[in-house]
Structure formats: C-alpha cells, structure tokens
Symmetry: D3
Amino acid sequence: MGSEDRLTNAERYERGVKTLVEMVGEEGAQTIGNIGAFFPDMAHQIVSFGFGDLYSRKTLDLKQREIITITSLITQGATEQLPFHVHAALNVGLTPEEILEIVLHCAGYAGFPKACGALNVVSEVFKARNITPVTASKP
Amino acid sequence: MGSEDRLTNAERYERGVKTLVEMVGEEGAQTIGNIGAFFPDMAHQIVSFGFGDLYSRKTLDLKQREIITITSLITQGATEQLPFHVHAALNVGLTPEEILEIVLHCAGYAGFPKACGALNVVSEVFKARNITPVTASKP
Amino acid sequence: MGSEDRLTNAERYERGVKTLVEMVGEEGAQTIGNIGAFFPDMAHQIVSFGFGDLYSRKTLDLKQREIITITSLITQGATEQLPFHVHAALNVGLTPEEILEIVLHCAGYAGFPKACGALNVVSEVFKARNITPVTASKP
Amino acid sequence: MGSEDRLTNAERYERGVKTLVEMVGEEGAQTIGNIGAFFPDMAHQIVSFGFGDLYSRKTLDLKQREIITITSLITQGATEQLPFHVHAALNVGLTPEEILEIVLHCAGYAGFPKACGALNVVSEVFKARNITPVTASKP
Amino acid sequence: MGSEDRLTNAERYERGVKTLVEMVGEEGAQTIGNIGAFFPDMAHQIVSFGFGDLYSRKTLDLKQREIITITSLITQGATEQLPFHVHAALNVGLTPEEILEIVLHCAGYAGFPKACGALNVVSEVFKARNITPVTASKP
Amino acid sequence: MGSEDRLTNAERYERGVKTLVEMVGEEGAQTIGNIGAFFPDMAHQIVSFGFGDLYSRKTLDLKQREIITITSLITQGATEQLPFHVHAALNVGLTPEEILEIVLHCAGYAGFPKACGALNVVSEVFKARNITPVTASKP
C-alpha cells in the first residue's frame, strides 16, 4: 500500500493522461481537454479517478475494461458517450466483430431497444473508420 | 446460414441446456427448471434464446460473456440475478479478483450505489464458496 | 372543461378512493392508509392524483391501465410495488395467463433479468391466491 | 409442444416477417432490413425472436402488445425507438387518444420527464400522419 | 386541511401558473403552452400537479427543489428536460458554480457518463446566457 | 491548484475519513470498514474519492449534498443505500420534514413507485430514531 499511498494528485493525473493517450491518442484526449476548459475540476476527476485510478489498474486489461464500459453504456442508454469508447475499444484491440457481439449479448440482458440504439452508434463509428465487419456468416 | 436456418426449437433448447450445464452444473440448471414448472414458455425462451442462441455463439468466450452479463446486471441494479452469474463466472474461469475488479470499474460508470449493492452480493457468494480474494494488496 | 375545473381536492380524493376500492377492495386500500398515517400529503397525492386523476380517466379501461402499470414497474425493476398491482390486475379482469404474457413480452424490451425478477413476484401472488396458470401448453 | 418444437429458425423468421409486415407494412419492415445489411445475426434475432416468437404469440393481441411496448420504451427513456412503435400502434388499431393516454398514465409511474420526452416524439409522428387528436375536451 | 381540501382544479392550475412564471418567466411558461395545444390534459397535470401542488409547497424552497429536479434528471439521463430546469435554477438563485457542483457530485452517484452528458447541456445553457463560471480554481 | 495537486492518496483518505465521521459518526463509518475488510481498494475509493474528494468540496454544504445524494438514490431505486444517507442527512441538519418533502418531490420526477419504495425506507429509519415527523398538516 505504501507507494500508492504516497501518490499525489498530480501523479494520478499524469498516470491518467498516459492511459488516456494509450486508449484514444492525443486527438481523442482532446475531448477531455474541452471539458477542462469549462469545468477543470470535473476534467481532473475524469482523468485522475477514471483513467488514472480505474483504467490504469491491473487485474483486468484494457480490452476487458472496454467490454465493461461499453456494456454499462449500452445498459444505461448512454449512447452519447459510446463513440468515444467504441473508438477506444478498437484502439486497444477489440475486433469489430467482438464489439457487435457485445451489442447482441446485451439485447438479452438490457433489452432490444437499448441494443438497437447502440447498434446505430457503432455502425456510425465503423463507417467513419471504414470498417466493414465480417458478420454476414453465422457463427 | 444454411445449418443454423434448419435448426429446430428442440435443437436450440438442447444446445441451451448443454451450455447452461457447462456454466452452472446440473444443480444450477435446476433454477431454470423451477421457472419451467410455473411458466414453461418463459423457461423455454431463457434456455433456447438466452443460453442456446446467445451464450452458445462464438466470437466471445464464456468468460467474456460473463463480464458482459455481470456488468449489465450491476448497471441496472438487478442484484437478485447476480448470485447465479457470479457462480457461473467463477465456474467458467473468471478469478474472484477479476469479479471484484468488474465491480470497482462499474463504480465509475454506473455510480457507487450500484457497485456497493453488487459488492454485498458478491461477498455472499464468495463466503458460500469459501473464497477469500487476494485483494488486500494494491495493484 | 367546466365541471372538471370546479372539482375540489376533496372530490378528487373521494373519486380516487372509489376507484381504489374498485381495484383492490377495502383491504387493499388500507396499504395507502398506512402511508397516510406516516405522511398524509403523500397519501393524498397517491389517491387524488394517481387513482382520482389518472386511473379514473376514460379512454383506457382499468385492464389496459394495469397492463401499463405492470409493464412500467417491470421495466424499472420496481418489484416491491408489483404485488399490489398484480392483485389489482386480477381483480379488474386480467387473466393469470395475460399477466404472465406481459412478463414474457417485457423480456424482449426490458431484458430477461427484469422479467425474471417480476416472474418471482407474480408466482408468489398467484400462490397466495391459489392460482395455477394454464401455461404449460404453447399458444 | 410438439409442433412448436419442430419449428426451424427459417420458419420462425418467416413467421416474424409476416407479423412485422402486418404491424408496419413492407416499408416499415425495411428498418430491420437496414440492420440486417450491417449485422445480419442481430436482424435475425429481432425478427425471429422479437416478432416471430413474442409478437406472434396468442393470449395478448397486437394492440395490447403495443401498449406494453410503448410503456416499456417510455419508462426506459428509449425515445429513439418510439416512432417505429407509435406507427405500429396506430396501424394495429390503437387510437391517437389511447396513445396519448398511455403517455399520461406513464407520467405517474415513470415520472413527468419521461412522459414529456415521449410526448414530443408522439406529436411528431402524429404530425407526419396528419393526425389531430381529439383531446381538448376533458374525459 | 380545510382550505386545501376546498381548493378547485382551476385554483390549483392558477397557483401552478404563478409558480411557473416565477421560475421561468412568461416566455419559459410558453413551453407548457405548446404541450397544451397538443394535449391539454397533460399540460393541465404538469401545471396543476407539478407546479401547483409540488413546487408551490413550503418546507423546501425553489432553490432546493431545483437541486432535486436537476439531480433526478441527471440520474435518469433525461438531458432533454435539463435546459428548462438549468434556466429555472439560475432564475431562482442557484449560482452557475452550484449547478456545476451538482453535476460533479452526481458523477459519484449516477456514474460519469450521466454527469458528462449533463455537463454538455449545462455548458450550452451557460453559453446562451453568456455565463462564464468561476470554476478554474480548485475549492 | 497547487496545494490540491500535491495532496497524496493518504491525505485524501484522511480527509475522507474526517468528513465521513462528521456525517455518520465513528459507528456509521464502520460500514465502510466492513467493505474494506473484503475489498480494500473499493473502500479506499469510497472514502478518498467519495467522501474525500466530493463531499469535502466547498460550493455546496453537506445538507445540500445529502439532498443530491438522496434524490439520486431514489431516482435509481437504490433503496439499499438509502438508510445510510437518511441517517447522514439527519446528522448534518436536514429535518425529517425536509427529507419527506424530497421523497414527495421525487414522485413527480422519478414516478410514484420509486417514491413509495423510498418512503418505506425513510419510515424505518425514522422509527429506529424515534422520530415522528410533523407532516399531518398541509403546507
């Protein structure tokens, strides 16, 4: 517990930025920058707590964490935050097919309306990245 | 699409039972049996659609699917259905530490109340299985 | 709009009590009485606004209104309020089979966890009323 | 259970398409077709499970099923999926006044914000269909 | 209880309009007028029950009531209704910094996605009112 | 930003414990201790982030923060976490009548089922503390 206890907020923030850039690149990290210009303390918590404390932890890797994040966003209908994390998921190594599979699995657990809403967003991100998923054939 | 198209409901059900037993054993599958005694068509859909169509698909393995399921249950506050899936998650190979990590990651996405509610349930399942998670040391 | 405009709160309350008793009998109405002993203004709103203004309206009958109520309760996971309305639904003429059918339809829209949670509650109410639904045969 | 057991996926799909066309016409069914071009397995589940298994069941008719669907969508705030089902509800025989009445009843159960959000969507669909509801007079 | 009991619907409505105008001015009240043109009974309930019965009560003042309303809207993801109440909150005396603080506190309770979604809306309302919050300095 | 930047995790934790004890006393803080025995990192985040970072901030006082917290818990149906915060709310100076008033206001925004579920919990906490609210007279 020692070294984590002595960690300062500045170091948590720095760790968060590093993870954030690993996930969405300098450009994607700019999204948080926009929040910071308006409400710096909120941006600080997103970076330090969200990316510095949660995403930077071990035990689960970034691919597993994006499965969790995308599932939670779909389940609560937070489609507005989905594009950021579909991009991040692809960047850390989830395949397009795995992302679609999360959406379909969620249909059973969060209901079809939430899954359909998510599918629209996923399809737009895929289009923006010129991705054509290989899903036409059944498993 | 051919072979999947010719699959009958009886075969979907059979496939579902097989996956269900792989996940929770004969004893766990009995939970669905209780539903079936009361409302057979509902039990049929849970087994055929849920376990036969969704969980039996490829692309994501059962460990990944339980990450999704547990996250969705935490996010919607469906603590009543959690014990079944914490058992299943342990059975298909998620470690106790990974399950706790899902709960902590969800605190940021679904809020602390949902995460605390889930932690209570997880702790009861661990106790029932004599599991002591190695979480005292920071990552 | 004339006569509705001149309606007093006392008359709205009276209308609500009448509808409430029609739905759950004198005994069921006592549930609201318990709330009234603790927080009278809340009980007043439940009776006058809920039962006096909403349930007493025309355009939809009490059976249709209970379909709406039960669906909304299932979708938001408010299982605690379900027994009251499963009783009411049976009292105003929904059959046990129709109530089960609402639960199954909701599985697709609100997800299976919410539907399974609701089914537990419905099964307890049916047991308390000695009801054995004729659902073993497929439609 | 016999005949339902021998039903194949192709037949479930066919049954779903038939119900879907009954509800929203060939043109409305095209919405699902768009999903199918992107993620065929998801479209298959929507048609076979949603429209083939759920909507095609007996016990509740299509008008009652749309009351359930619209209520569930309002309660979970899934306004994006509402236009499809307001159209379907009108097509299977719910009157404009009954649809508005569902929204108002939901105000008490899911809160006014969800009801107001839904009312916006309903009003747009009515406008698109040149419908002027006769709701100015109190019941 | 006497005087409240004798209150008519017309008087509840009048009381609601008065509170509504106090909160959002004549112009803001026009929003409800638009609903009234489409579905008068719904507008009546919003004004009489919402603003006449709830907001007009004592025990909590309008600033405290807007804290509750904004929190509930953030928690349920009802961002569409937020602008109306961010305007109202500013009108009844909450400072821009207090409103941002509600959003940040909600991040812990409803999760960061809901808080981020709300922050977007708040920032747009502030921009429309030429408000620059003094939040750059930590508390 | 300087001093906040140099704050260590140990200091955030210490600040959180101080706020926590101010809110619920040594005994109430023990609830978090129980979580800490099972999953220390989660307890650390609850104390450091929740009570150290959020509740310890200025701009809103503890009474206002408990209005937010209780509203968010009611809106998401997290009744399990309510007793802790009803106790805290009373400890930091909200009156029993103000707490009931939050519940009633939430009925309009989150729907009556959530408000009724919350009222049950509030009534149990009041009973445990021998509190009889003065709510029988209308405002």
